[in-house]
Symmetry: D2
Subunit: 151 residues, 4 copies
């Protein structure tokens, strides 16, 4: 994956790229769909890293476990196949007190293949609750940093 920021179209977004490998495809010679979720996960991590919240650093320095998902979905319009170069556009649709909602679009050239949406939180372990995974109130600095990257 490589990544960059784009303001093409009517709304700023974060852009990353992925190339489909032979092993990402199924016997129908199209991308086995769970891989799309893997790539959207990587796109979100790339966005956070571009905003200064690289995953190994936030895990080590802030004791965040990462950015777990509360909900995820995707609409599959057209299949992708071996060696396709895909463009992934990521936008933040909404900030909630403890959640952020992302919209993703996966394109080959200008053709929209997949639309995805994800609701994520900043995961922390609550020692006092048996190490249960909980959602941190989203820091304003995180919102500001992500928003700056989006342009």
């Amino acid at each position: 994956m490589s990544s960059a920021v784009s303001a093409a179209g009517d709304s700023a977004c974060f852009v990353s790229h992925v190339r489909v490998a032979f092993g990402d495809c199924d016997p129908a010679a199209i991308v086995y769909f769970p891989n799309f979720y893997r790539w959207l996960d990587e796109a979100t991590h790339d966005l956070c890293e571009a905003a200064g919240y690289e995953l190994t650093e936030v895990r080590r320095d802030r004791k965040w476990v990462g950015f777990p998902l509360a909900e995820a979905g995707a609409r599959f319009h057209r299949p992708a196949t071996i060696n396709d170069r895909l463009r992934i556009e990521t936008r933040v649709r909404e900030w909630r007190p403890k959640m952020f909602l992302l919209d993703h679009r996966i394109l080959r050239d200008d053709l929209l293949l997949v639309e995805g949406w994800q609701t994520r939180f900043i995961g922390v372990h609550l020692a006092e609750q048996g190490n249960r995974l909980a959602a941190l109130p989203i820091p304003q600095a995180f919102i500001d940093a992500i928003s700056r990257v989006m342009g």
Copy 2:
């Protein structure tokens, strides 16, 4: 995966099982979420096989490419971890002329971990359209067979 039919609760469903492997989990020691989609895919294939539509047979004998997804989503309520025994319940929510809508629930003991929903079609290749993937009108025999399995 092993599977069976259950009529527990207020609505009949198809039940399959999966055990979480070490390699299915991420650095937070919980299931890396794309794997849930993989298991829901296997659960659907198990249901179709139980109904007499085993994947290698329908690919060879009927020239179906399988049961591709038009849409898929999931709500992640609680994480699963290494060696968890998970129960997957699958129900058909709706039959449309060329689509069928599935609801999935993933549980550990009686605890609901994940709710998933999927819109699928019977994929065929249209030779006259450059081998494009298209949706077959769903045969009544398929609906009847799946419904019989559900009880």
Copy 3:
């Protein structure tokens, strides 16, 4: 995966089973080979669990990180395909002070598909060395327990 112990043939082994899923296969409609390594990993974990060394317990109670690999290889004699029921035989070939060597055979019916071999150790973190992953001298109790399971 399901598992059991077998003394069939000239040497006792640990037997586990796996069914090939659609998503485990590549565009050639055969198992994408990294998945075989995943299944051999699960077979080893199943063996250790049968011997009383379940992974989540040894991680929590003994502070072992698991059974990492020093070396692994496989010879692919014949491909496996969608819905194949595979039998995995696992044998311990050699115990070394800090390593154990495993031999695996993957069969469909009586046909040998894959031969694998793995050199593993018991992984621990050395706090005094920046949390580096190191090999624990293999406890005799571990050798005894595994050997008992093998029959």
Copy 4:
């Protein structure tokens, strides 16, 4: 993955790169080892593509199924973790009539993490033998093209 040719060191090799994703790592926060095989597979495909044997083209135009493995192995010297940038060096060690042997090295900066070796063939389907996967005698043009890419 991105790729290039390098003649650094005493022997020419093909170089590709991969970045470790969060989801490539296991609960020990190191790369789950089957992923290394996936990346070596992609490295080989990149090499073949650089030599003019792109996978979708050889599948469509030459009716090759790809470059299946007869044998593969790896020695794991040091673990890789989230967001590591890895360099993969690929060399052809030997050409046989129907097989080619590859050596791989995976490095982070100048540190050798993994050594891998693979024996591959050009896979074709023998229609007269029930579509069985067979090894094509390796064309001299293929050897020449790969050798040219290696420098």
